[in-house]
Symmetry: C2
Subunit: 395 residues, 2 copies
Amino acid sequence: MQLNRVLPGLAGLFFYMNYKLENVKKINVTRPLLLDCKQTVSNFPLAYETYGKLNKNKNNAILVFHALTGDQFVSGTNPITKKDGWWVTAVGPGKAIDTNKYFVICANVIGGCMGSWGPKEINKKTNEPYGLNFPVITIRDMVKAQESLLDHLGIEKLLCATGGSMGGMQLLQFCSTFPNRTFSAIPIACSTSHSAQNIALNELARQAIMADPSWDNGEYLKKNIQPKNGLAVARMVGHISYLSEKGMQEKFGRKLQEKADYEFSFNADFQVESYLRHQGYTFVERFDANSILYITRAMDYFDLSKQFKGGLVEAFKKQNTKFLVISFSSDWLYTTKENKDIVIALNSAGANVSFAEIKTDKGHDSFLVNEPEFLKTIKGFIDSMQIKFENEKRI
Amino acid sequence: MQLNRVLPGLAGLFFYMNYKLENVKKINVTRPLLLDCKQTVSNFPLAYETYGKLNKNKNNAILVFHALTGDQFVSGTNPITKKDGWWVTAVGPGKAIDTNKYFVICANVIGGCMGSWGPKEINKKTNEPYGLNFPVITIRDMVKAQESLLDHLGIEKLLCATGGSMGGMQLLQFCSTFPNRTFSAIPIACSTSHSAQNIALNELARQAIMADPSWDNGEYLKKNIQPKNGLAVARMVGHISYLSEKGMQEKFGRKLQEKADYEFSFNADFQVESYLRHQGYTFVERFDANSILYITRAMDYFDLSKQFKGGLVEAFKKQNTKFLVISFSSDWLYTTKENKDIVIALNSAGANVSFAEIKTDKGHDSFLVNEPEFLKTIKGFIDSMQIKFENEKRI
């Protein structure tokens, strides 16, 4: 039997490493940052991108926090992958987050691999990539690092901050840690701490990477290789969890991949198999395996209530920010219930909060795709916040 | 940073291979079997186990079909693993399926690795393990092979046949292919074809195995090794899907594994991580990686309606069997809806069918654990079927 292992000819493998990441916009964060693991760091790079123009009053800025495998390239064409920015459905000229009106900022998280300080960066002490010598960072560490960017850009108070999934977690942390830094906030499809199932799925991804001998205890970059098989499997875990059962059934069902009947082999007979293999093995072209370990760890460690003796209510008690929490009915990774728990905590803390559950079959991925009700909801909220923010400044 | 890869000292690794599998009960199936892939085979081993005694009238036999990673050792102590049989909660003296009254039979599926003809068996043509030269088999092939065992045991008609998960799929196929061979049937937590999500989860498991360089295109047995990392990850996929979100949350939540706080490392900080690693890396002691490929493929190929031009109703139209279909409310792998679809098809075919949804948080695993309402339900059904079967024979 012939077995096609479906390792596509990855001519582009590691092309992201060859790309001049020093060409991406970045700041050098000089202010010492005490990480949750007790290490203090300073003088590290934070890569970012902006879209639209900051107005004179500096009151049209919107900060976007990206998710696990996202980066700073929210809109337009990602200069590294040459593909659309990851939130091009929502952000751009005339879009729900209209860059003709608003100044949109997004930073690559620390721990990431798109120019910010992360495990594939060079450790100045050893002159080699950090690998597992990179400290285990948290969502709070990520957010603190990004505050420096706002200072750099001279933005005292954002009009709005938003993010889905891990972006939403960063946002909740940001609002809690810096209660006066944004006028409004839209946490999307997230939670204040990972459920056991979410930790399990992340652990599965980590185990897939660490199971690959090429991972080599995180030292692979020294040999200029990637644990591409393990990383591809890790990515497949994600793609299964991002779609709802119903959405997957509607999209793929039992449809065969360009064949009339079963092949009686282990090739990709079903379209859904082909989809997963494709998603897995193209992902390795643009992402660093150790970054997945670090970022998923930060997500699993995130537990906002743990930071305060009084729990979640304490976390939000200083809020003047106006919140719109959004969930998707078919999202089984961050369920409506988990999103409602955020609303309950915000209400208990006396914060200004509204909530919308978007009915859709598109699962967790809904915030990334063209979901008109969702896009209309965030557009309406941001545009109304702009008016309120203007008025408040005038008063 | 020290990284514990949590590869336990697997002193027992492959001990199943060293165990004299020729000591397990087996028959040699001499009748030629035309497989769905069009190959014809004969003279292959089918391993099985029985519990209790067949009565004189041969009307107390219950055939159990096992699931993906099950085997013929349903009750008592598994002689290979020295652990409890996989369905010891339900089968045994005085249990719901009472071996003091009933004669319980279970065969290892072909494609499996507990003595039946499978990819780790020796190919007589090459004198080496089959590996990927083993034909891709189907649920129908498995079931046809098991019919020979009933002939061998001299059982014309079973009192009952049952099975959960893939066991349920085999049962539906068995009833369809051999409509007069069982008086009653209890399909549990199954479906008549895999959803896209189920195919995706199986594909994830296959990809994890095939991503492991030790898998070596299925040739690993020739070197007396196993792709243990890939197989362990594949098993973790299963364990996540077998529990419900709520059940996992109740069992593990965010509880830490014998530590007061986060370690800021990639060790198993959370209990759920430790659980998955343990489940994954103990599994490799008892299972063959290629068997996972073959059996998951059979599950994904299974589509009962595809075998009949008239669809599912045709599949069941010759039924005299009395059915009890059981689902579990928190099973997201084979949902209540999918189980109800079986009921609808059976009803449409004029079959005798009842249905029970068991309310539980234990997910797909519910049929394997001590779930009193479930056990009471199957006991009641089987005991009543025994009386009816006796009466029918008398008439």
